[in-house]
Amino acid sequence: MAAVLRPPWRIGVDVGGTFTDLVVIDAAGAIHIAKSPTTPADPTEGVLAAVALAARQLDLPVTGLLRDCALFIHGSTIATNTVLGGKGAKVGLIATQGFRDTLEIRRGLRADSWDHRPPWPDVIVPRKRRLAVDERVDRRGMVTRPLDPESLSRALRTLKGEGAEAVVICLLNSFLNDSHERACHELIAREWPDVWISRSSQVAPIMGEYERVSTTTIDACVAPRVVPYLRALDERLRGLGLLRRLALVQSNGGIVSVEQVAARPVTLVLSGPAAGVGAIRSLSRAAGSSDLICIEIGGTSCDVTMMQAGEIAMTDQLDVAGYHVNIPSVEIHTIGTGGGTIAGVDRGGMLWVGPHGAGARPGPACYGLGGEEPTVTDAQLVLGRLKSGSYAGGLILLDERRAAEAIERRVARPLGIDNTAAAAGMIRLMEQKVRHAVERVSIERGYDPARFTLVAGGGAGAMHAAAVARALGCRGVYVPRLAGVFCAFGMCNSDVRHDYVQSWLGDLDTTDAQRFAAAFAALDAKGRAMLEAEGFGPNRVALHRLLDLKYTGQQWTIPVAITLPFDPRAIRAAFEESYSRLYGHHQPDGNIEIINLRLAASGLLPAVELMAEAAAGGAPAPSEIRNVYVDEHHGRRPVRVYAGADLRPGQSVAGPAIVEEATTTVVVGAGDVLSVDPYRNYAIALAEARP
């Protein structure tokens, strides 16, 4: 039966590895969901198939669905997949004479200094396509050797001969003076009009030639693949009736038009997962808390994202398949822990869980697809929190007997304990890892996780959230009913956002207020012009200004929000407060340096108001009573199991209990109380942690 949508609506489409999720939210806040398989060979078809499916379900023609769509937002892993699959463009690199190897030297950064064996990922631009031009800018930004255009022309001839599709320009100290990079850019555009050009001073104007060249190289590597795809998709959708330009989710969680992202496609590397931010913002309103930590647990990994006082934690250091990308981005801390994570016992008789996973094939032992090794999902099955039978609409068939055999053979017998203790041990160890990941994200930033509400996303998040939250001392747990389409939902709740960074390099105390104001005015003008071009009037623009500050001698900077006019004393106070929170101390009168000016320019879209349902009375009836292992104190006992569809807003369920949703299972611990809010999301009030 088709619901009737009230125009105009927003559509969010998240193309994942397996499924393409589509969410429509109409003017009244009603939500419609469509899920279709991703077509990896042609992601455009996947998007169009999802649109067609939704139109069919809604009993609308495709043109009708698109014509009344005020905002069509797309998040895509295409940039990341291009890098992961080594399917990027053939890139050439122009560097300063003497520095063509920076990209391959990688600053010698090793992920784990104890493990010297793993190689680095293959360098994206091989040395024969990394060519030098004769020029030099010194550390004060002065040209000490003029650019020799002939050296550039020579390099271009070589790169043309090599069949390069894209050229990276990254010259030493261009963050201080980019005149040579610009000159190279102009010359290349003139001599070689059909090559893609990525210039470091445009893509990532930051100090540090390695991070700059690496980021710019990823940009060039993905651009010739991503930009044509996006343009083609945009044209197809408009041909089918969409009146607005396609919008994309960027790594910073904000959205941007297809034309603007085409200038800097590297900003799409986290396009899919970063959209979760919009969902967190929306949930924050529904949950009535602005301090949230979200754990999204799927089959292979757990992503942790934090919102503190309504602000999403950001970073500018990303690792994409082992390549370093420095762009402002939502901080998503990922660990290799999920439902498919494998457990075993080492030679010394100690239990381990992960980081290896069973993947989709063969998958957990209980899938019966040939997996021999026990996984977290197998343990949940043995504990009764999952049950044998069909899941995910019949795509997966779970077999408890196979799970029990695998755990018996690989964990219980080697440890000399029974199967329930082994399975429970696997879950505890897995949840400890999730807890450590949450602590890393929060404690590293100087926040106590106990102040936060834990949001469970992904298929497996809600099975672990209550236990993890209890161990962290969190305020509570919130499980969105739309956990399975978290990111597509989030897209419909995002603002437009553009980030700008300008390197500064000066002492706070001797900063010239006028020069400072002028620099920010220039950034402001860029941001406003960009947003105006997208139709945002002055009253719908929000500008957030930040400084990257550090004490002299320190390498890491701290971002500190500021207001104009320039007030060094207020800035010092704000820096010292942040510093003390992060590190427990600060240096009174320490010399503070300004490294970068940053501007986040947002175009504000009206927040989506979700449709609230009236509260129903009465107690819900369980769909079954199942023998479930609750915890180490309560052991295995009969537990009420509810079907999510039977629960109504206003109703509540006392733990221990299980709630089965279409795309997730919620585990409610002993003493916990789960209640259904007006949006049909679940809030879990936690029992006190046992000593």
Binding site: G108, K128, G348, E439, H585
Partner: protein, 582 residues
């Protein structure tokens, strides 16, 4: 005795997590570039008896022998320790430390009035006085020339900093600002470590805490014994040498006899050369750490990392030799050399146990250290890390072309040129891979780099050209040895001056050129995939001639492709691999 294997696993991981948290705090708070950029520090945790129970954070060479310092501290203060105290030490002779610049801060953790654990941060200070700025006095012949010596000291007494002692420390450094900030960062990291660890011990129960620590050590021992048990029993030998004692050219050998039997290993250094005049002498703690680095790199990286892992390993280091020097020998260089020779000697012996695990040698250091006064008149110390050497190959990967030094296994990252140009009066001219310097092999060694820099001001230099003359990145399993390094020093508008291999000099503004040594190769170079050889030729890191001579790969006349027929014929005709090495 702990009979809950699940809880044991949880506790072990929680302790490692605490050590890492200490590292996060330190990285973000420390002021010296040596910590914030290069992570030259390590956080580790000991039990109340002075056994290291976690070394999850930091540098391999720092923590393996950390237990020596803990036990020296316990011997000195034992029952006199109180809650809220923090201790400091650095002396290798009396305090079990590795060398003077690594200051070890120890905070005892008390739970219910009982000493339950020790949380530690060992960090290389920017300057500790002595004969040269920056802690490395290449002219030192006695430990007194190397800086201030600290026995175990109570730096904080029941929460109160001993201000007079703090002042004494600041008076004995050329960089009091840095030392002050870095000590605070170290204190902050141990504070968070102590808070987290005491919470854990309280959860377990104070008496059970030690039982868990014992079980964690016992588990590590069992894992290590099982690993060693898979190796063929027997006696193996390895030897590596330096070609200088810092004052004259002479061989200084580290000789090793390795006995493998019954799930245990004995590393016997009897026969190694006597301690030297210069500052390349090892302390007992450092020799232990170096052996543990070699063993850890050889076996699985997933091995537990605590002192239990090392119980199956016995080390014989005769007093008065270069691996266990007698007072008052100078020894600041020891975490680099002779640690490097010790690791190399161990790897040479271990390679005979399992060729698939064999590790080729890393090129030894060629670059120098520059120090002087910055524009604010403060002392700066700059390591010319951009001239780092090539690493050695292992089965499955080539050596890293330029990488932080061997004893950290690359754990110390290289800085950006742009950052260094902001911090120091230098202009870097070049940092590019060398051609034909990598040790050939099925997996070749790292290439090393050509590094050139102008230093704009007069400055003091400490030289450490260990890898300048004798090739140091040895090959394994038929792989070849990497080329040695080279260095020239040219004052502005003048002719080059002599380069001391070691020593301290005051020099005018200079142009420095370093070619850093290459790493060793793994496996017969004739078995290297010809496509990879072609790529190396196209990349300009292997010449056409070397491709033919060392890899037996023939390219087409225009150099654009492998002549497969000619290559197969040549490779077949060479039934025996050539003597390796360029």
């Amino acid at each position: 005795m702990i009979d809950d294997p699940v809880l044991l696993s949880l506790v072990q991981k929680q302790i490692d997590h605490v050590a890492r948290q200490m590292g996060w705090v330190m990285t973000r708070t420390a002021r010296s570039p040596i910590f914030s950029q290069s992570h030259d520090f390590s956080c580790f945790i000991g039990d109340a008896r002075g056994n290291v129970i976690s070394q999850a954070d930091g540098l391999p060479i720092h923590t393996g022998g950390g237990g020596f310092a803990l036990r020296a501290l316990l011997a000195a203060f034992g029952n006199a320790m109180a809650d809220g105290d923090v201790y400091l030490l650095n002396d290798p002779y009396t305090a079990g430390n590795n060398h003077l610049p690594d200051w070890t801060l120890v905070r005892p953790v008390f739970v219910d009035g009982l000493l339950s654990a020790l949380v530690c941060n060992r960090a290389h200070q920017s300057d500790i006085g002595g004969g040269a700025a920056g802690t490395y006095n290449a002219a030192a012949t006695e430990i007194f020339h190397e800086g201030i010596r600290l026995p175990p000291l109570r730096l904080i007494e029941k929460g109160e900093v001993r201000a007079d002692l703090w002042q004494l420390l600041l008076l004995n450094t050329r960089c009091p600002d840095l030392l002050d900030g870095d000590l605070r960062a170290m204190l902050g990291s141990t504070e968070i470590g102590a808070t987290r660890l005491s919470a854990l011990i309280r959860e377990l129960g104070t008496t059970e805490g030690q039982a868990f620590f014992d079980a964690i050590l016992g588990h590590a021992e069992r894992v290590m014994r099982a690993e060693i048990g898979r190796m063929p029993a027997g006696t193996y030998r390895g030897e590596d040498a330096s070609d200088t004692d810092c004052f004259e050219t002479k061989d200084v050998r580290v000789r090793l006899r390795l006995d493998v039997a019954d799930g245990g290993m004995v590393f016997d250094f009897t026969g190694s050369d006597p301690q030297t005049r210069g500052f390349k002498n090892s302390s007992l703690a450092n020799t232990h750490s170096a052996v543990y680095v070699a063993v850890g790199a050889f076996f699985d990286a997933g091995l537990p990392r605590n002192e239990g892992t090392y119980r199956p390993i016995r080390i014989v280091a005769p007093e008065g030799t270069v691996v266990n020097a007698r007072y008052p020998a100078a020894m600041t260089m020891n975490t680099v050399y002779p640690a490097g020779e010790i690791i190399h000697a161990c790897w040479k012996a271990l390679a005979q146990l399992d060729r698939d695990r064999a590790c080729a040698g890393w090129g030894k250091v060629a670059y120098c250290i520059t120090s002087g006064a910055d524009s604010r008149g403060r002392t700066y110390v700059m390591y010319h890390w951009h001239g780092s050497s090539g690493g050695g190959a292992v089965a499955g990967r080539d050596g890293f072309n330029t990488i932080g030094q061997l004893t950290t296994l690359g754990g110390m990252s290289l800085p950006n040129v742009e950052v260094f140009e902001q911090l120091y009066p230098i202009t870097v001219k070049r940092q590019e891979f060398r051609c034909d310097a990598a040790g050939p092999g099925r997996f070749r060694g790292g290439t090393g780099v050509d590094y050139e820099v102008d230093v704009a001001a007069s400055a003091e230099y400490s030289f450490r050209g260990e890898g300048l003359y004798t090739p140091s990145g040895f090959g394994v399993v038929g792989g070849g040895t990497g080329r040695s390094g080279a260095m020239t020093l040219t004052p502005r508008d003048q002719t080059p001056i002599d380069v001391p291999q070691y020593g301290v000099r005051s020099l005018p503004p200079l142009h420095i050129k370093v070619s850093s040594p290459g790493g060793g190769g793994w496996g017969n170079p004739h078995e290297r995939d010809p496509a990879l050889v072609l790529r190396d030729v196209e990349d300009g890191v292997v010449s056409v001639e070397a491709a033919r001579q060392y890899y037996a790969v023939v390219l087409t006349p225009d150099g654009s492709a492998v002549d497969l027929t000619a290559t197969q014929t040549l490779r077949r005709s060479l039934s025996q691999p050539r003597p390796p090495g360029p």
